[in-house]
Amino acid sequence: MSNQNLLNTYDDDIVRKFLMACLIWAGVAFLVGLIAALQLAYWPLNLNLEWITFGRLRPLHTNAAIFAFAGNAIFAGIYHSSQRLLKTRMFNDTLSAIHFWGWQLIIVAAAITLPLGYTHGKEYAELEWPIDLSITLIWVVFAVNFFGTIAKRKEKHLYVALWFYIATIVTVAVLHIVNSIEIPVSFMKSYPVFAGIQDALVQWWYGHNAVAFFLTTPFLGLMYYYIPKIANRPVYSYRLSIVHFWALVFLYIWAGPHHLLYTALPEWAQTLGMIFSVMLWAPSWGGMINGLLTLRGAWHLLRTEPTIKFLVTAVTFYAMSTFEGPLLSIKSVNALGHYTDWIIGHVHGGALGWNGFLAFGMAYYLVPKLWKTELFSKKLANTHFWIGTTGILLYYISMWAAGITQGLMWRNIDASGRLLYPDFVETVTKIVPLYWVRALGGLFFLTGYLIMMYNITKTIQQGNAAKATETIPTPAHQMGSHEHETGHRKLEGMATVFTVLALIAILVGSVIEIYPTLSLHKYVKQENITSPYTALELAGRDIYIKEGCYVCHSQMIRPMASEVLRYGQPSTLEESMYDRPFQWGSKRTGPDLARVGSKYPNLWHYRHMIDPRTVTPNSIMPNYPWLVQHDTDFLILRKKLSVMKNLGVPYSDAEVSNADIDAQKQAQTIADDLQAQGAPAGLAKKEIVALIAYLQALGQKGVKK
């Protein structure tokens, strides 16, 4: 094909690439998820192997699901629909290729570094700084390519799906950059500049908006393109889609603090998060209704077209999740649901139902189109649909039951004012059967996926990608008429203005929310009421982060009677003021650890870490035998303390320059104690001792002794 001809065709090759990547990574994400689910049901599946222990596997699962599966799905859909909506080829094929290969490389880097324990210890932002930088770079490439395409478009007006893409690109950039401001300590280790409460707020502003602008807005854009496209009828109400867009984008950005209700976050920020989360219900459902009613008068398609079935069910799950989300943001409901499996169920309703099914529906539509053929088997697609739906329901219902059961057990206080279930592990064994049901749900979902892969492989085999190039209609009669334009119409022509407005919408919320908290923290710091970690404790803390203990343990005691009875006084802002990153956690598969310091003797921790069941029968916590084999890196501690000092932690010069020596001394004391209690000799330089030092320091640094 000549160059000129090439320019007159859509670049579907890049769409095929992203789509294939999406489908392949999906398998990885689902499989790793299933293994992680099984590990919770049956702890020996941690296999005593550090690389696949739950604490490291779970971040791999979430990253694979979000950035590899959903990410590639978004890119496939955006590259496909934007070219058609803008009636032009992508801006630059080389940029497309760099975007594609760069993104896959990032995923591979994640798949290697996460099992090795290189992590920030912040959920969905685990990847270490060199990878963070690459993400920024590739995202910029994507942005340039996308906005370049908009600039050379042959359709004057921007359809609403494109608005959602623009908001996605701009906001994800802002979120990722702000949340990854960090100071490197070594090649694969860094500390965030924000500490404690600031870090918590920035992280959940990021975390929540990763859901909003990575898993929601781009998928809504896809919904607004593919549902009308496949049903071959316009969206129910274009007006509603505009209101939907602005209300959603504006409200979402404020909702992050609903992840921090009842924590040491200032009350006003919690209230703000709660109010905006509840309000978010309205635009979410507005969008949902708009998507569903697009099928008005064509409901029969729901029976005959598996593609439509997937899309409509996806939107239904979106409705469910966006109803449940605001519900869980109401403080009294949150008090029960937070830290439990209810949240895990909530997330998967969205991830499997909304993102998963939308991506599947899109794939069933795109593959035959891009390979110029028919879908190999509608029947198999229907089977996939039913097995997948059953899987999601099993998952959802079991996690609901598990979460509410455990939440109620945690807070149950008898007439004499004592906890009815003081042993945490009791509340765990109770829900283990439900963990099996959840794993079964995951197995169903994975089976459905495998059926789809078979179906799609067959489709591709019978198809012909080479013949499938679509030529772009001649620009002349496409370039919009020159009618007089006012208001929104002008706005739509002006992509730049639009982008700036969207940026303002998300920045207003971000600044009002985050800025006061930054200064608040400075204020608290001057009080200097907690002492920083010793060098050894810091080393232990980094091991805690590396092992992903935070995926099962919180460090944030909420101000409620049942929590105070179980864990001690509520956590204060100051107790985490030097925590980089903060480790408040979001899930209590195990008990809160904020005040575990001095609760048990060193030997207890030693035995517990090697095999939790020797001290707590029925525990589902993994064994950590390698902590007794690996040596602590003492030398790097000077660098670590010096970075911390530069970030404002009040270490003296002597503490920094003697960091390794001090640490070794403290390690020797603990090792001597362990040995006196019957543990083997020579543990001082082992990681286990540093970790014990950290655990024993938890809750011991503040005023409340």
Binding site: R84, Y225, N232, R233, Y238, W254, P266, W268, I512
Partner: protein
Amino acid sequence: MKQEALTQFQDTHLTIIALMIFAIMFVGTIFFTYHKSRKSFFEKMQNLPLDEGGLQ
């Protein structure tokens, strides 16, 4: 003491400002969107995804 007071820190005016900004934005969007003169334009817009210039 002071830190106790800080956790109770109530900056309600921030919440109110936020709500007001949203209210203004929302009313503005509704006004723009539901203005009569935009009807035909929206009809054109909503058909954009369906139109591939005769090519499927």
